[in-house]
């Protein structure tokens, strides 16, 4: 089983973690057109590659960002959302 490193709890089995999809920037609801909003709600991040994703260490409730190469099942790095504001 894969090992994922929680920024707080260190390396743990990936079965202890929950995946919550990609980190998406939300457009301003007041400014976005209906079409832009639908794009935000439904569309995904496209081809395989290094993705920034939300993950949670479920037993401790720690949420963090994982950069993962989705073409190879390789976790590149993990960090807390709050300590490193991700580029968008």
């Amino acid at each position: 089983m894969k090992i994922m490193t929680c920024p707080i709890n260190g390396p743990r089995l990936i079965s202890e973690f929950a995946y919550a999809g990609e980190l998406k920037a939300m457009p301003d609801p007041a400014q976005a057109t209906d079409e832009q909003w639908a794009d935000y709600v439904f569309n995904k991040n496209g081809p395989a590659g290094i993705k920034r994703e939300w993950w949670c260490h479920t037993s401790s409730g720690v949420w963090f960002i994982a950069e993962r190469d989705t073409s190879r099942d390789v976790i590149v790095r993990t960090y807390l959302y709050t300590t490193e504001v991700p580029r968008t």
């Binding site: 089983m1 929950a18 995946y19 999809g21 639908a38 439904f42 496209g46 081809p47 395989a48 989705t70």
Partner: protein
């Protein structure tokens, strides 16, 4: 069975990307029903090597929405005649299909599906636990006491078939009608020009050279996002692995196909005697086909809850495919905003059974540049319009 073509031609009327069941079926019907034979099917790997050869071969039409039921019902009808059409035995075997319900909420969904199915003339019936026990007398319907079966959706036409043979049959039929199948041919880019009313397809670059074409059909399941990005489109598709495993052959003991959404199990026994078993999607996005031990462990655990006597039966092999999932559990098919770029995707965990009807409807769509009546509800633009299909309403496993 297939002709080898040493070189690509410089142009084709239609280029189909992906020589899985869907792509080859579209090629077959383009040639047979629409007289379009100047067609190249491009395949990065080998014929039927993707999800066509990795699924658990279940065929059924007991869906929830009118669009879904009518679409898959047409597919089942086509399936039943394919062996004779191809002069190739697909081992199409009607077994009956039980979707087990372990809660009253699941039972409500089964009734809903049964009622919609019956409305469209599809044989489905919500049955009680006793009927399940009579049909599968060896099953522990208490499921080890953890999740007693309260009833099921019984779908008599549920069937299995030899998955590889489907691709071969369509491939051979297309080949005989002049379609060129090019294996080990990877698409590197898709060229578009401005048609005045938006972009239009003009060509395809491959690792074996350039092709001019005005029509491209994309039938590549897990690779769809990459091809979409080549023409500047985005989609709600997300790719998760779907794993399966198979046992050593044993003498026939299980006739029907058994599915339990709650226990994440589906199982059938092949003509060779193997048990083919699957479960739900892997929990996170991945565009690769690696296997995991936890899959084999949890699937075996749930299998033994239903069939406790199988402890000594051995698993010989596990594998994975890449499922291209959609938010509403319905496919994404038809025309796109790029003229001449046609999409056959969003097949998630339900693509195999749709192979014939996809070929039929997509060939029509490509030949006439008009979406076939059976797929008008499945267009990519439905998300922009918030016009999702209701297939997710069933919220049961989709196999």
């Amino acid at each position: 069975m297939f002709t080898q073509h040493d070189q690509l031609k410089s142009s084709y009327d239609v280029v189909i990307i992906g020589a899985g069941g869907h792509g080859l079926a579209a090629a077959y019907y383009l040639a047979r029903d629409h007289g379009i034979t100047n067609v190249a099917v491009l395949e990065k790997g080998y014929i039927g090597g993707g999800n066509t050869g990795r699924n658990t071969t279940i065929i059924r039409s007991n869906y929830l929405t009118p669009e879904g039921v009518q679409f898959y019902d047409e597919s089942v009808r086509l399936w039943q005649d394919l062996s004779q059409d191809f002069d190739l035995n697909l081992f199409y075997s009607t077994r009956g299909h039980f979707t087990l319900a372990h809660t009253d909420a699941a039972m409500r969904t089964m009734r809903w599906r049964a009622e919609v199915n019956k409305h469209f003339g599809v044989q489905s019936e919500a049955v009680d636990a006793q009927s399940v026990q009579e049909a599968v007398p060896m099953m522990d319907i208490s499921c080890g006491g953890h999740a007693p079966v309260v009833g099921a959706l019984y779908h008599a036409p549920g069937a299995v078939a030899r998955h590889d043979a489907v691709a071969w049959g369509y491939g051979r039929g297309a080949d005989r009608r002049g379609v060129e199948i090019h294996q080990k041919t990877e698409v590197l880019s898709i060229e578009t020009t401005d048609s005045g009313s938006g972009p239009a397809v003009s060509g395809v670059m491959t690792n074996r050279g350039h092709i001019s074409t005005k029509r491209v059909l994309c039938a590549v399941a897990g690779s769809t996002p990459r091809l979409l990005s080549m023409v500047g489109l985005t989609s709600p598709l997300y790719i998760h692995p779907l794993q399966a495993m198979v046992s050593e052959p044993v003498k026939p003991w299980l006739d029907p196909i058994i599915v339990s959404g709650s226990l994440h199990v589906y199982v059938s026994q092949t003509a060779r005697g193997e048990l083919v078993m699957g479960a739900s999607l892997d929990p996170y996005e991945l565009h690769a086909t690696r296997s995991t031990l936890d899959f084999a462990e949890s699937l075996s655990m749930h299998m033994l809850e239903m069939f406790p006597f199988l402890g000594d039966v051995k698993v010989v092999r596990q594998w994975a495919g890449m499922a291209d999932m959609t938010p509403d559990f319905a496919p994404i098919m038809g025309k796109t905003s790029v003229k001449g770029f046609y999409l056959d995707s969003g097949w998630g965990t339900w693509g195999f059974k749709a192979t014939p009807v996809c070929g039929k409807t997509m060939s029509h769509t490509v030949a006439t540049d008009q979406p076939h009546a059976l797929i008008t509800g499945f267009g990519l633009d439905r998300f922009r319009r918030y016009a999702l299909t209701g297939e997710k309403g069933a919220a049961s496993v989709g196999h």
